[in-house]
């Protein structure tokens, strides 16, 4: 139990969890995203109706969350690719912090103009 707790209290474990959960959430969102874009087949007016629906505060909040998750999954994925494919360098220890910072910056860049 103690070892299990210690392993899971490591920043790399939290990075793994964020990467996996963000990937799951994005996969679940994809069908809705494709459906929404597909509405364009029924014309620009239909797309506008859908975009007006997304102006609700709760939907905007969820959108900002999705952008944050997408950025987090990207940053976490780049970190993994760097760890797996690049020769080990000291700076790779800082990748977790860079990944988190980049994700938050992208989320804020979206959220602050809503």
């Amino acid at each position: 139990m103690k070892n299990d707790y210690r392993a899971r209290n490591h920043p790399a474990w939290w990075a793994f969890l964020v990467h996996r959960l963000s990937g799951l959430a994005l996969t679940l969102f994809l069908p809705f995203h494709f459906w929404a874009l597909g509405q364009a087949l029924q014309g620009e007016a239909r797309l506008d109706t859908l975009l007006r629906w997304t102006q609700q505060p709760l939907v905007k909040f969820a959108e900002a969350g999705l952008v944050l998750l997408l950025a987090a999954h990207l940053a976490g994925g780049l970190r993994l690719l760097a760890l797996e494919f690049l020769p080990w360098r000291g700076w790779q220890k800082s990748l977790l912090a860079w990944a988190a910072g980049a994700a938050i910056a992208a989320g804020l860049a979206f959220a602050l103009v809503l």
């Binding site: 994809l30 929404a36 874009l37 364009a40 087949l41 014309g43 620009e44 007016a45 797309l47 997304t54």
Partner: protein
């Protein structure tokens, strides 16, 4: 033979050697699609932030995508990479968190990949043709 407790090599009913080869191909596909997606998601994020700065309307979106062959090609590549990447990730989650390791999982994941690819292309075609 039960597949329980045999780890990743047990996900296929095929011979152990071909199961291991299958896992290797999935690993390569996951990393290759990740590399493509890294570029696509960067472009996507930049486009999202640009779009919300310049008004998110149907007209504005379609002005960028309608008849835009470059955007359609980018979108098709993006969708292909997603259809490869997301199902493989979901497969790992099903194996590790749900303990689902039999061959049925591979069929379900394959069907999900096909569905994502078809519906993704349909969405891309929609904003291209609109």
């Amino acid at each position: 033979m039960s597949s329980a407790g045999q780890g990743y090599a047990a996900v296929s009913d095929a011979a152990p050697g071909s199961a291991a080869k299958f896992e290797t191909w999935l690993w390569i596909a996951q990393r290759a699609s990740a590399a493509v997606l890294a570029l696509c998601v960067l472009v996507h994020l930049a486009t999202i932030i640009y779009a919300v700065h310049h008004g998110l309307t149907g007209a504005a979106i379609l002005a960028r995508t309608r008849g835009n062959v470059g955007a359609l090609a980018f979108y098709a590549l993006y969708v292909l990479a997603i259809a490869v990447h997301a199902p493989i990730g979901l497969r790992a989650l099903c194996q590790e968190w749900l303990g689902w390791r039999n061959n049925a999982l591979n069929w379900v994941i394959g069907a999900l990949a096909l569905a994502l690819f078809i519906f993704g292309l349909r969405a891309g075609a929609a904003v291209f043709l609109a």
